[in-house]
Structure formats: structure tokens, C-alpha cells
């Protein structure tokens, strides 16, 4: 019996799921975690087991979709949930790409290339096993561009509206993608000019013609505007609504993006900047123009993609928008390094474009050899970029993956958490999860109720008068890198002793980064 291609594909996807799951669980057992996954674990614990304004935590934790995607796996294990979500999500990414691929005839070669990418590319492994939300970014980025390219081909409203919906979801996977819309503004004009029914083929002359004829000008303006609306109305309104939701629930339009209680990277970005500026071996963030060059080194296949689309100016411009986007990110967020996931979008985009245009290439043999070589280069570049990444977390992943030794990065947090787990069930422990989410993530679910954290109304009164509201306080030590970003640090102890001299804080547990005090009333 011959099995159909789609069943075959499902089978491969299942194998990939197992492959990623094994890797993710193995790394998890070695103790590998990162800030993003810890943040999701902690917030999921609050949502399902906390006491307080849980709806606010659920609605305003950002990025929303990767966070919510972990919910499905919390029944298995909180600490594993992000990794499970990313493992299955990355396999889903493979399936989405491969399904698009097998709709075209005789594409086995491209399927092998894709499989090689998903099996060996360290960036994909990083996406799959780290518990980060990058897999959702890649899925929706792929779908966004896929639908855009389909729109170019068929001029159908369906595809442009699906692209718009994908853009919305992309923004809710990573808010920074909202800036991608900026580079689509001129692009939409180019698309409209192309779609006008004119004899002239050259874009610039088409523009000239359409601007100089009143009827064409009206048509151009109407159509451009309509396309803007169809493409950007949903993302912009969705963001606006989300911001209003933040305003009504947190009194801050940008709470989701700027509060360390709502998103993980606020603190990490600040930390990264502090480290950069205070390090003795000062590292310069990527030089602006060289960033695109780095992308080309990381993903040379994008050059082939651009070559394949060379005949259509606006389509080439479409492929160049992600370059403009990352350059913009680099200028706007000049104090942080560009995360690895932004490099990965080019890998996905390049493969999409090559897949989309592969049938137009006459000399398939040379083309396939070139692709195979570039894929090999990309696999190597993936390892190299991860190994030399300026972001410590990225390097740590590779180190754990290649050395397969226990990761001690979170040992300190785990120790404090296990101490908290050993405390009586009716104790009240005051801690600030803006910085201590890494500790909370390892607290047992039934102990979450013993914690008093900022999402709860009684946190402030607990901070003001710990003698009444808390039995224990978790304080960041002076050595703790994030000590400056929390109220509960050693300066707090000094000030509270001044206002409440009768209260005695007894040190009951101490690690390098945290001290647990018992409040003696």
C-alpha cells in the first residue's frame, strides 16, 4: 500500500516532535532554562494557582501568544511547559512549511533540504528546545509572507486579509514586529502601482504615468489607501485595543511592553546594557550597516531568493523589508543585541522564496547543488553565530547542548525555591517577581498561594508593614545583578528597620543572589 504524501508528512512531523521533545526534556533535566521560559512558567503558575488579580496577569503578560501557548502543557509540568510548547510548535512550523511545499509537484529535494534544516540547524534546535516563543514568531512570519506572495500572484482579498491576520498574531508573539508595518508603507504603494492596468512595465514610469492622469491618480490613491486599510487596519486596531486594555487595567498604555511584571525582556535588556557599559572588555553592539551583512553570512540563501524575484521590483522590496526592519530595530533599541530569532526569520523567509520560485529555474541541477551548498553553509553559520553570540543565554544553550553537562545557571534560584517549598503551607512569603520570577518558577504549585507578590492587592501593605502581612521576605543580595531593579533589596531592609524598629528580620536562608528573612514580630 502506498501512503499519501500528506500521511508521509504527518509521519515525519511526528518523528520531529519526538526528536524535539527528547532534546527539550533532556536539556530540561540538565537544568537548562532561560529568562523567557522562566518568566512563562512563573506567570502560568500565577494564572492557574495564584490568588489575586489573575485575569490581569493572564491578559497583560506579554508576548501574549507564546505565553498562552504554554497553558496547554501546564497539566503535564509547569517547568516543562514552555519547552514542550516550543518543541511541538517547531514541529508544527515544519509541517506548515512542508504542507506548502508538497502542494507543488516533484519537490522531494526541497523536502530533504527542509528536513536537514529542521534536524541540524542549531537555530531551529534552539527554537524547539529552549521554551522560547520564537517558534510562533517563525510560524506567523512564514504565513505572513506566504500569504503576501500568494496575494502578489493571485490578487485575492483572501490572501491579503489572511496576511493581515498573521501580522496581528505576529505582533502578539513579539511586539517589535509592529515596526515591520513601517516598511510596508512605501511597499504598498509599489504594489498598487504594479497592479494598475498600464502598458508601461517599468515601476518608476508607471508611477509617473499614474500621477499624471487624474483618473489613474484617483484610482491609485483609492487602491493604495484601501490596501493600507486591509493590511494594517487589523494590526493597528488590535494594538490600540490592547493598549487601551492596558490603560484600563494597569493605568499605563505601554504596561505590557515596559513593565517588568508584564514582560521578561525589559529587565534583561537593561541588564544587558548595564553589563555592556560596565564590562572591562567593552563589546560594541553590532555595527549598523554590518548587521545586514551578518544576516547575509548567516543566511546566504536569501541572496538566491532575491535573485529569483529579481524581475519584480516590488517583490524584491518585499524581501528587503525584513532587512530594513532589523536595521531599524538596531537603531531603535541600540542598547541591546539583536536576538537570534531575528536572524532565524531570514532562514524561513529564504526557504519560502526559494520554494515559491523554484519551478521558474531552468537549470534545476545547478540550482539544487547551489541550494545544498548554501544550506550546508547555513548550518555551519548557525552553529558559529550561536557559539559567538553576544548574548550569554544563546551561548549557554549551545554549551549545554554540546557538553551535555548540568547547567548550573539557575541552581541558585532552585535552591531558594526548594527552601520556600519546605516552609509551612500557612506562611506568607513576600517577594517581588519583577526580579525573582526565576525563583517563583521553581516553587511548587501548591506553595504559590503562600507567596505575596505585586499582582496581589496586599503586596503594597506587605511591603509597608511586613510585620503584619508577611512571615518571610525574599531579598535580593547586593551581588545579585538585578538588585537595583527591585524594591526588596538590602536597602529596603535598612529603610524598613528605620520605620519599624520593633521588627526583627532573621536570616534563615542565603544563597549568592537571595536571602530569605523570617519576620519576627
Amino acid at each position: 500500500m502506498r501512503i499519501s504524501r500528506s500521511v508521509y508528512l504527518l509521519f515525519i512531523t511526528c518523528i520531529l516532535v519526538i526528536y524535539y521533545l527528547v532534546a527539550a526534556v533532556y536539556l530540561n533535566n540538565l537544568g537548562y532554562y532561560n529568562h523567557e521560559s522562566l518568566f512563562y512558567i512563573e506567570k502560568a503558575l500565577i494564572v492557574f494557582d495564584g490568588v489575586g488579580v489573575r485575569l490581569k496577569v493572564m491578559g497583560l503578560t506579554s508576548p501574549m501568544l507564546p505565553f498562552m501557548a504554554t497553558f496547554a502543557f501546564t497539566t503535564i509540568s509547569y517547568t516543562l511547559a514552555p519547552a514542550l510548547a516550543s518543541a511541538i510548535g517547531t514541529a508544527l512550523l515544519f509541517y506548515v512549511i512542508a504542507v506548502t511545499l508538497i502542494k507543488r509537484p516533484s519537490q522531494d529535494f526541497y523536502l530533504y533540504i527542509l528536513l536537514a534544516l529542521f534536524l541540524f540547524h542549531p537555530g531551529i534546535l534552539y527554537t524547539a528546545c529552549s521554551g522560547k516563543g520564537g517558534y510562533l514568531v517563525l510560524i506567523f512570519f512564514f504565513l505572513f509572507f506566504l500569504n503576501l506572495l500568494k496575494f502578489y500572484r493571485s490578487n485575492t482579498t483572501f490572501h491579503v486579509s489572511i496576511a493581515s491576520i498573521c501580522l496581528v498574531t505576529l505582533i502578539f508573539c513579539d511586539y517589535k514586529f509592529v515596526w515591520l508595518t513601517l516598511f510596508f508603507l512605501p511597499l504598498v504603494l509599489a504594489i498598487t502601482i504594479h497592479s494598475l492596468n498600464l502598458g508601461e512595465q517599468e515601476s518608476i514610469f508607471r508611477l509617473f504615468l499614474s500621477f499624471n492622469s487624474p483618473s489613474l491618480r484617483r484610482k491609485l490613491v483609492n487602491k493604495t489607501f484601501a490596501l493600507y486599510i486591509i493590511l494594517f487596519a487589523l494590526p493597528l486596531v488590535a494594538v490600540l485595543c490592547y493598549k487601551l486594555l492596558n490603560l484600563t487595567h494597569a493605568n499605563d498604555l505601554n504596561y505590557f511592553n515596559e513593565s517588568p511584571y508584564a514582560t521578561w525582556n525589559v529587565l534583561i535588556d537593561k541588564l544587558s546594557f548595564d553589563q555592556q557599559t560596565t564590562n572591562t572588555n567593552y563589546q560594541i553592539p553590532e555595527v549598523s550597516l554590518l548587521l545586514s551583512a551578518r544576516v547575509l553570512l548567516f543566511c546566504p540563501m536569501i541572496l538566491i531568493a532575491i535573485y529569483l524575484f529579481r524581475e519584480s521590483t516590488y517583490q524584491v522590496l518585499t524581501l528587503l523589508t525584513p532587512f530594513a526592519f532589523i536595521e531599524f530595530l538596531h537603531l531603535k533599541y541600540d542598547k541591546v543585541y539583536l536576538a537570534y530569532e531575528y536572524y532565524m526569520i531570514f532562514v524561513v523567509l529564504a526557504f519560502l522564496c526559494v520554494m515559491f520560485k523554484s519551478q521558474t529555474v531552468k537549470n534545476q541541477r545547478v540550482f539544487k547543488i547551489t541550494l545544498a551548498v548554501t544550506m550546508a553553509v547555513q548550518l555551519y553559520a548557525g552553529w558559529y553565530f550561536l557559539k559567538t553570540s553576544p548574548i550569554a543565554e544563546d551561548r549557554n544553550f549551545l554549551a549545554v547542548l554540546t557538553n551535555r553537562t548540568d547547567d548550573k545557571t539557575q541552581a541558585d534560584n532552585m535552591d531558594v525555591a526548594s527552601y520556600i517549598n519546605s516552609l509551612p503551607d500557612d506562611s506568607h512569603i513576600l517577594m517581588d517577581d519583577a526580579t525573582a520570577y526565576g525563583v517563583v518558577a521553581f516553587v511548587e504549585r501548591q506553595k504559590i498561594r503562600t507567596l505575596t507578590m505585586p499582582y496581589q492587592d496586599n503586596f503594597l501593605s506587605g511591603v509597608e508593614s511586613p510585620d503584619k502581612a508577611a512571615d518571610y521576605i525574599v531579598i535580593a543580595t547586593a551581588k545579585n545583578l538585578v538588585t537595583g531593579y527591585t524594591q526588596l533589596n538590602n536597602r529596603y531592609l535598612v529603610s524598613i528597620k528605620r520605620t519599624l524598629p520593633q521588627v526583627i528580620f532573621k536570616k534563615v536562608y542565603e544563597t549568592d543572589n537571595w536571602i530569605v528573612y523570617r519576620v519576627v514580630k
Partner: protein, 615 residues
């Protein structure tokens, strides 16, 4: 008086060419219609010219409406025969049968008189329209009774003559009772439960509509009939096509109607176009009489009988339809010129269970004012996305008011239109599904006149919403039976599409008032009715629901390339309020006057409507 035959006379006077005379005679031999009937109703000669020719030849046209008649004489003649020959025997007088004839030389009819009544006819020449009026009035009784009561007798469960069944009334009052008791016992908790039910209902309805729109838009490139397939259609093999044109006081539109019908790309002699005029509608009848160019339709006068509704008129016209296929257009409709051929081609391709094809409807006067713009947005989304979505998911399609093309025999078997239902089209769509038939959607558009006047709009919409309520009540008399007939998918689709529509419009202003009170007056007591997660759901509905529905509207006009309308989609919340007004009016009428047909005035648009030639 001349001894020439009427055809000779018309040729002599130059109103008819010899070639056309031959064509008419051939057509007459094929169909059994009289020469004059074909000449006057297939676009060969105008009534004015015919009258002129006859007067010059010495004939006089008598005023016949008040003439005496003998019922025993009338009982012996069939209305179809009288209509086909434009003649009617009235009474015996002086050993002769007084016979009204539009053409005095119709020997076949004269022979009929001789054989049937055994006397010579005494011919009175009269206008064909007057003869039609009188014959339908005098001998159309059994047809009109059949038009009104046929469905009720044959299939009482499908008739809306009974608005609420006993079980429905009991159910409604039990629910009201439970809610009332709940409110008395625990106002807060009952309100929260109601709130949750309404919010959940809204949420599901919104998601369902978005899903439908996406499914529908997925097939926007799909062409049910391609240009190539259309080229394969051979004119000689085309079947007779009946077009019913129910009109009431549409005298201003008759000229436009002729132009639009003449543009249809279909062999003229294979068209069976019937203008259905109500007995008391002299305005329209006179407009037809005064046409100074040839008409291409046959007039049928619908005798007075309550309820005075469009479906009753259509049922009446159905008795005289000769086509294999049948469609309905409104007087102001401009169908794509190739629509009928496309339908024939599509029926040829589809399996036999497809008995109806629905064309898309849109508006030619879309840029006239705010209302016409909003109407265009709505129709674009309804016919381009919603109906194809329903079609793809195999969910009952509520047919649009016009441009639905039927297989005639299957339509009759189905019981035709329900004269007691004011959206007979939507009802028929669901009934067809329930009886195991299917409906297809075709890539052809009919352009109508959008209502440009708010009160007229509300009248029309209140009828539509009332009709949806009627249709829902009729088919939900036995929900278990409905599930058995159309399956769970169809049942849920029916509930969320036909059932939900009036409910949403009824509830919408209440929720909006809640919201506005909450925002403006900051009524904290309202907050108690919205616990956290209900509030979350309600805000989601309010924001996401509104945005998505607006967006779907935008998509639809984008697809139609009506770019200038795209921003008007934002005004939808205001437009929906107008729906709500209509919904309350419709609900009121459902209780007080369920069969009343709110007449929509047409011909108000000042926009000229160029014929919609398909290139």
C-alpha cells in the same frame, strides 16, 4: 373594416417585417401561443403601434372591464388558454357568444368557441391588457386560491400561516417565567447568568461569521462557470427560461425594466418573461399600456386575495410558467447579461440534487448616499463571502430576494413559495435543504437599487427581519426533525445564521446602552453584573466582534474593487442600530400583523443604471 388578416395588416403598415411575421408564425406553431400574443409580448411590436394599425383598419377597442359576464360560460374556459390567445368569452347574447379578443382573426379561438358553446362568436376587440386583467380576475380564482393555500394544505408544517406553535409559545413563556422568578430570587446571579449566555452567544456568532467569511473568501477566485464553459453553450439547445417579475406600483421602472431585459443574452423566443401585476395596480398596467416600444414580457394580473404578498404573486405566475428553469427579478434589477446562460451551463454540470442557483446581488447606486454605501458594504459581504461560505460548508442558504434560479418542476414539487412568509426566499432555501435538495452559488451578479431613504430602508429591513423570525419559527417547530433532515452542521448553521441574526440586532442596542451608561455615568452597579471573566468576554465581544465584522465588510468591498467605500465600514455600528430599530419593528409586527408585506418603494434613486454588459 379591412378583410386583411392582422399579420398582413401589420406588415402592410410597416410595423412588422415579413421576416418577423414568419418568425412569429413559426414560434406560434411551436408553442401554441396566438400570433398576436407573440407579437405583443416578444418584442415585435409595441401596443401603441398595434392599436394605431387596428384603428386605421377600422377596428375599435372597447372598454370591457365592467361588461356583464355569465359564470357558466367562464367555467368552460381555462385561464391558460385564454391568456395564450388573449381572448375571453363572456356571455351568450342573441344566439352568439360575446367574445373579447385582442386579435379578431384568431381562428383557433373562434373554433374553440364554436365547439365549446355551439354558437358563433361575436367578437369585441379589446386591448390585450384589459382582456388579461378581466380573464385573470374572472377565472383566476382557483389559481389564486392554489397560490395561497397549496403549501398550507400539502405541507402544513412548512407553512408560516401559523406563526407560533403551541410548543413554542409554552417554551417562550416558561423561559420568561424562569427568568422572572430568577430575577426575583437573586437578581444579581440571574443577571450574570443571562449576561454570560448572551456574551457566549455573541462570541460564537461572531466567530462563526468570521469563519464563514474566511471560508467564503477562500473561493473568491473560483468560478462556478468559466468563460470557456460559457462559450460552449449552444443557443439552439437552450431550454425555455421563465422570468417572473412581481411588481406593485412600479410604473416608473417599467421602461428601465425593458432595457434591462432586452440586454439579456438569451434567445428571445426561449424567454418566458412574466410581469406579475396586482389586480388593483392600474398604475403599472397603464405604464405598460403606454409604452411606445415593444414589450418583451407577458403581463399576468394577479387577482385580489389576501395575503397580498410577493410570494403569492410568484406562485400565481408559476401556474403559467413554461420554462424548464425559472428565476425572479425585481423591476429595477440589472442582471449580468450572461447570467441565464451561465445558470444553464451550471445546472448542466451540477448533480441532480441541486435545484437552485443563487446569483450575487449588489447595487448600482452605491455612491448615492450614506445608506446606499452601507447597503453595498453589507450586500458585498453577504453575497460574496457569507453565502459562498455556507455553500462550501453545506449549510442551508437563505436565498436572496431575487436572482435565484430554480428548476421549475422541482420548485413546484417543493411547494413553491410560502405566501404567508415575508422572506419567502430565505424560507425556501432552508426548506429545499430540509427536503434533501442543494443550492449552488454562481459567479454572476445582479445589480439592484439600494434603498436610499431611511424610512423606506427601515420598512424593508423590518420585513426581512420579521421574515427571518418567521422562517426560524417555522423550521424550529420540531428541532429534532430538523436535525435529522439537515444534520447537526446544518442545524447549528441555521441557528447561528438565521436564528441569531434577529436576536443579535435585538440585543445589540441593550448592550450598547449598558456600555455607554457604564462609560458616561460610571455606574458601578453595572460592574457587579460583570464578574472579571464575563467582563473579559464582553470586552472581547465588543472590541474584537465589532472590529472583525467591520473588517469583513472591508474585505468584501476590497474584493469588489469598491475602494472608495472601504472607510465607510467603520460606520457599521451606526448602521447596525438601524437594523435594531427594524428588528424591534419586525418583532412587533410578527406578533400583531405577521403576514403584512412592508412594501419597499423602488425607483427613488437618481442614479442612472447602465446595463451591466459582461465583456
Amino acid at each position: 373594416m379591412t378583410t386583411m388578416s392582422i399579420p398582413e395588416l401589420l406588415v402592410k403598415d410597416g410595423f412588422l417585417t415579413a421576416d418577423n411575421r414568419e418568425k412569429i408564425e413559426r414560434h406560434s406553431a411551436e408553442t401554441g401561443l396566438s400570433f398576436i400574443k407573440i407579437a405583443l409580448t416578444f418584442g415585435y411590436i409595441s401596443r401603441k403601434n398595434y392599436e394605431r394599425s387596428m384603428l386605421e383598419a377600422g377596428y375599435e377597442f372597447a372598454q370591457i372591464r365592467d361588461m356583464e359576464y355569465d359564470q357558466a360560460v367562464l367555467d368552460k374556459i381555462d385561464l391558460s388558454f385564454a391568456n395564450d390567445h388573449l381572448a375571453l368569452p363572456l356571455r351568450a347574447e342573441n344566439g352568439k357568444m360575446i367574445t373579447l379578443m385582442a386579435s379578431p382573426d384568431d381562428e383557433l379561438f373562434a373554433d374553440f368557441i364554436r365547439f365549446t358553446y355551439d354558437m358563433e362568436p361575436e367578437i369585441i376587440v379589446a386591448s390585450d391588457l384589459d382582456i388579461i386583467w378581466l380573464s385573470n380576475k374572472l377565472i383566476g380564482d382557483k389559481y389564486v386560491k392554489s397560490s395561497v393555500f397549496e403549501l398550507m394544505k400539502r405541507d402544513p408544517d412548512s407553512s408560516a400561516v401559523l406563526t407560533f406553535s403551541s410548543a413554542q409559545l409554552v417554551f417562550t413563556f416558561v423561559i420568561i417565567g424562569i427568568v422572572a422568578v430568577g430575577l426575583v430570587l437573586s437578581f444579581k446571579n440571574t443577571s450574570i447568568i443571562l449576561n454570560v449566555i448572551i456574551s457566549t452567544f455573541f462570541l460564537v456568532a461572531i466567530i462563526f461569521k468570521l469563519f464563514l467569511a474566511l471560508v467564503g473568501s477562500r473561493f473568491e477566485l473560483h468560478q462556478a462557470v468559466t468563460k470557456e464553459e460559457l462559450k460552449l453553450v449552444i443557443d439552439d439547445e437552450l431550454p425555455i427560461y421563465t422570468i417572473l417579475l412581481p411588481v406593485y406600483k412600479e410604473d416608473k421602472l417599467i421602461k428601465k425594466l425593458i432595457w434591462n431585459l432586452q440586454a439579456i443574452d438569451y434567445p428571445r423566443h426561449k424567454l418566458d418573461i412574466k410581469l406579475l401585476i396586482e389586480e388593483d395596480d392600474d398604475k403599472t398596467l397603464n405604464a405598460v399600456r403606454n409604452l411606445d416600444f415593444p414589450a418583451i414580457f407577458e403581463v399576468i394580473v394577479v387577482p385580489f386575495h389576501m395575503p397580498k404578498t410577493k410570494p403569492k404573486a410568484c406562485n400565481y405566475g408559476l401556474h403559467f410558467a413554461r420554462g424548464k428553469y425559472l428565476t425572479i427579478y425585481d423591476a429595477e434589477d440589472i442582471p449580468d447579461t450572461d447570467q441565464l446562460k451561465k445558470v444553464v451551463s451550471l445546472f448542466g454540470k451540477l448533480p441532480s440534487e441541486f435545484i437552485c442557483v443563487q446569483s450575487a446581488l449588489n447595487y448600482f447606486n452605491r455612491n448615492e448616499n450614506f445608506l446606499t454605501r452601507m447597503f453595498t458594504l453589507e450586500y458585498s459581504y453577504w453575497f460574496d463571502y457569507m453565502l459562498p461560505g455556507l455553500d462550501t460548508l453545506d449549510i442551508p442558504i437563505p436565498l436572496g430576494g431575487t436572482s435565484n434560479h430554480f428548476k421549475l418542476q422541482e420548485l413546484i414539487d417543493l411547494g413553491a413559495w410560502d405566501p404567508f412568509n415575508v422572506t419567502e426566499d430565505a424560507d425556501l432555501g432552508v426548506r429545499a435543504y430540509a427536503k434533501g435538495h442543494k443550492i449552488a452559488i454562481i459567479n454572476s451578479t445582479t445589480y439592484e437599487e439600494a434603498n436610499n431613504e431611511p424610512f423606506n430602508w427601515i420598512r424593508q429591513r423590518s420585513r426581512w427581519i420579521k421574515g427571518y423570525m418567521q422562517t426560524y419559527l417555522v423550521h424550529m417547530r420540531n428541532p429534532a426533525e430538523l436535525v435529522r433532515k439537515i444534520g447537526w452542521k446544518g442545524f447549528l448553521g441555521f441557528n447561528f445564521f438565521i436564528g441569531a441574526t434577529p436576536v443579535i440586532f435585538l440585543v445589540y442596542p441593550l448592550l450598547l446602552t449598558f456600555f455607554i451608561c457604564y462609560i458616561i455615568f460610571d455606574l458601578s452597579s453595572i460592574r457587579t453584573l460583570f464578574p472579571d471573566w464575563v467582563l473579559f468576554m464582553s470586552i472581547f465581544n465588543l472590541m474584537v466582534g465589532n472590529i472583525l465584522m467591520i473588517y469583513i465588510n472591508m474585505m468584501a468591498v476590497f474584493k469588489r474593487r469598491y475602494y472608495e467605500l472601504i472607510l465607510f465600514a467603520i460606520a457599521n455600528p451606526i448602521y447596525w442600530l438601524m437594523h435594531s430599530i427594524s428588528a424591534y419593528k419586525g418583532l412587533f409586527q410578527l406578533v400583531t400583523n405577521p403576514f403584512y408585506w412592508e412594501k419597499t418603494n423602488h425607483g427613488l434613486s437618481k442614479v442612472s443604471n447602465p446595463t451591466n454588459v459582461v465583456k
